[in-house]
């Protein structure tokens, strides 16, 4: 799953650690989500979307299914 977390964070001028503090997760978790290594749980995904005032599908973009 792709996401826009890095660009949204950059728009706010926050560091990964600052965003982590706002979401109550570690900097490593933010880094792993941004790099697409880890897909967050649904509650965390909603929390992220709410923090940036977006809908969840505007932040997280599912991969296209193989045809």
């Amino acid at each position: 799953m792709k996401n826009r977390l890095k660009s949204l964070r950059a728009e706010q001028g926050w560091s990964q650690a600052q965003l982590g503090e706002r979401l109550d997760v570690s900097r490593q978790t933010i880094n792993a989500i941004e790099r697409g290594k880890y897909d967050p749980s649904l509650p965390l995904a909603f929390k992220i979307a709410k923090l940036f005032d977006y809908k969840i599908e505007d932040v997280f973009i599912p991969d296209e299914p193989d045809t």
Partner: protein, 185 residues
């Protein structure tokens, strides 16, 4: 683990790790027959240095400091109960008394497991996943080690102390944790 912001936290960490390592030093002094004072002081100094280092440069896995200190206290409790067990085994006790002597370290292990469990539960979702994957891999790795060693044992290798299994499991946990942390980098 959050970075230390106050000298107060650093001091508390240093005192806790000093006590833990002093107890480890004491147990080693008793087990290997060197001076108890040297064991105690050497352990305390090493513990203070460890506490200082960990406070200044915390590892990536983020436990709140109070849980870090609780783990250290649980280790101290486990080490001291093991020392009591070792002392009683050296005494001339009958079989039933020896069984009773196994209760203190058992309590120590239970306290240690509960404390580590609480610390893992305090982590965020990715870190919990890393720990869970690491523990599962360590468990599987230890099972393979024990199985393979059993085959070697049938072929004539010496019997291994059960304590070695725990050391292998702990080492595997450490290695697999490093690997899973690297995987999610």
């Amino acid at each position: 683990m959050e970075r230390v912001h106050s000298k107060e936290e650093e001091k508390k960490n240093m005192i806790t790790t000093s006590i833990t390592w002093a107890s480890v030093g004491l147990l080693n002094a008793y087990a290997f027959g060197f001076s108890l004072v040297i064991g105690l002081l050497g352990g305390a100094l090493f513990g203070a240095a460890t506490g200082f280092r960990v406070s200044r440069r915390p590892p990536k896995m983020r436990f709140p400091w109070y849980l870090f200190r609780q783990i250290m206290n649980a280790v101290t409790f486990f080490v001291l109960t093991s020392a009591i067990y070792a002392y009683f085994l050296d005494e001339t006790l009958n079989q039933s008394q020896k069984f009773w002597a196994t209760i203190p370290p058992m309590l120590g292990i239970i306290v240690l497991i509960i404390t580590v469990g609480r610390a893992i539960a305090s982590l965020d979702e990715l870190q919990r996943r890393i720990q869970t994957e690491a523990i599962a891999l360590a468990f599987a790795g230890t099972a393979i080690f024990v199985g393979v060693y059993a085959l070697f044992q049938f072929a004539g290798l010496d019997e291994v102390n059960i304590g070695v299994v725990f050391i292998v499991m702990a080492l595997m946990w450490l290695l697999t944790k490093m690997w899973t942390m690297w995987k999610y980098r």
